[in-house]
Symmetry: none
Subunit: 195 residues, 4 copies
DNA sequence: AATGAATGAGGATTCATTCAT
DNA sequence: GATGAATGAATCCTCATTCAT
């Protein structure tokens, strides 16, 4: 079935040069859309927000899983950067982590998504990422906490993520701190990475 | 003699008395379907599982929100019943709560509901319900508990809910218990109220 | 994702009564569409021609295979009816068969469809059907032919099918007769079933 | 020294001489793709298999019809070459023809092309090609043959093509031979011209 | 009051085709 | 002349919702 010829003018095509730019725009758009509407949001909305055609979305991310994974990967990378930064404190790392958690509440749902085994690719990927987050945090963890084993720390991060809700940034931060305190981790004021 | 069989062929028309039975069947079916496939599961699946036509579903629950709310309401009611039971302890109530967390994706979703727009009806409802859960728990809170503050209690429930992930009910239950332990809480036997 | 409410009026819904009528209309439409545009024609075109919504098409035929199979089944049934009719001759049966072959050239393609194994459900089904055609024909086959074994007859039908092309009914009939003659089968004038 | 390697990384730009090589690679790729996946296969697959960009495909073949026609043309040319070869017999020519039938869905499709609209360009072309095939065969037709009449010969080729089904080339070849035998024709060794 | 078929909008995905580099 | 990314129309398919019976 050939496509019928279209009448409309064809919008600009910036050529292959746009590829990298498009991918970045897609990741940003995906983060926003997923955060705003959940992980089941229409993929077409991502393409639209990124200002690209549907095809580009599929070129870069063959399925929803790939798009989600790309956003997660980017988030984790930023946490790791925060941890690797000169003189980073636990609060610094936590700040970046908290920002991502607060900004992308949808990703919490990620961990509840695949009951039936579908999407388990995401699940597996999430495990790897959560270990990277754990590593980034542990190196800065203050003394006197109870999170002696790796599972506990990962679990704690998941638990804290649930606390990070609220209409304002301040409230979300306060809740994050309260949550850590409940877990026996005392942490100073949270600063956004680079902020 | 009332026939209780629900699996039978076509109930045809059992008269007005069927209405209540249908509603109950729908709530049960909804809980199962939501637990198995998440809150986005097709509504038609609920009607099918309940053994009724689509129309009946719509008669009782005009939209998805109503169905979700009915399941949550039922869950909360059971927590309250556990709290009101003769000689109930904090651990007992927590056990019922934990059972629901582990059993029902809908119940977990309650604590992570969408912010904006569509589901905000659910969100508002969830707040009310979460207060009822908090009240049920608080009435049994032992002294000298780390969760002595009501806010902390709600926070703790939210945090545990985030830990409740995993493909099987058993795994989810184990994680819930581990989460409570991290918070310094020992939970009683985990089971549905009256189960 | 709930659907947004539609403004337009909803066309008539004739209720369940329409089910049988719709199915028949779909089979007829499918035969026509497949004949005109090949087996890869858009399924939506079938629904449109049948005057039903897309959903109805999918209710009756969950995938393309099912729609194709239904048309084939119907075709074969008509051949069998012709064979079972009182006093039917080889030419009678052949007439019906030829009509179907001529009308649905697309079905010839059926036999070449599944190189890669996809659609092999259709292939398997087609084998069963071709045996039924073989049975219907064999019982009326005139003496003196060379098609002694079942494979040969099925093969012969496939071969004759390729001959049944041409702009007019007459030409298609003549070609069918010529094809049979090349295979050593002498057959009298072809009459349409019931014609 | 001409490099024949086609599998190499990126040919970059070998200058104008690449055009002819590309065209040849495209025809070969098209034959394979059409044979493997049918005439509806994505054109991009052809470009990929040929190791060229999509643009090159469009430079040489502005649309699908052109690509199909090129493959057919090449096939027919080989039949003609077989016919023109020194000492060629009817069986030899038929062998080459049969090879093409068994190898290429496109070649078979030639004889069953769509009636209306879209593909009618191909249909017309196919008629011309089928006359060329007929001419190539007729020049070698042995005496006393049942297929002494030219129309019968064309008809026979069409009939055999309909028999050429099956998932593997071997099976298709066997069926082709069986079909010729039913028509009273013994075919020589089946092979590509020069193969 | 219940049933379940029908409707049709919306979201996923694929490819033909163009065009910047 | 070649490359391959981008575009977006068209198709597939899935449900939410209505409504004749």
């Amino acid at each position: 079935m050939e496509h019928t010829e279209q009448e409309g003018r064809r919008p600009a095509n910036d050529g292959p040069k746009a590829a990298a730019r498009n991918r970045a725009a897609l990741v940003i758009a995906a983060r926003e859309i997923f955060a705003e509407h959940g992980l089941e949001a229409p993929l077409s909305a991502i393409a639209r927000r990124a200002g690209v055609g549907q095809g580009v979305l599929y070129r870069h991310f063959p399925d929803r899983t790939a798009a989600v994974a790309a956003v997660l990967e980017e988030n984790v990378r930023q946490v790791e950067q925060a941890a690797d930064a000169e003189g980073a404190t636990f609060a610094d790392v936590l700040g970046v982590l908290t920002w991502h958690l607060a900004e992308s509440a949808a990703f919490i749902g990620l961990l509840h998504a695949d009951r039936a085994g579908s999407r388990s690719g995401i699940r597996a990927h999430a495990l790897v990422l959560s270990e990277r987050v754990e590593r980034a945090l542990r190196s800065h963890l203050p003394d006197g906490h109870r999170l002696s084993d790796a599972n506990d720390l990962v679990l704690a991060v998941a638990m804290v993520s649930a606390a990070v809700i609220g209409p304002t940034r301040e409230e979300r931060e306060l809740r994050a701190l309260a949550a850590w305190r409940l877990l026996g981790v005392e942490v100073g004021p949270v600063r956004a990475f680079g902020g």
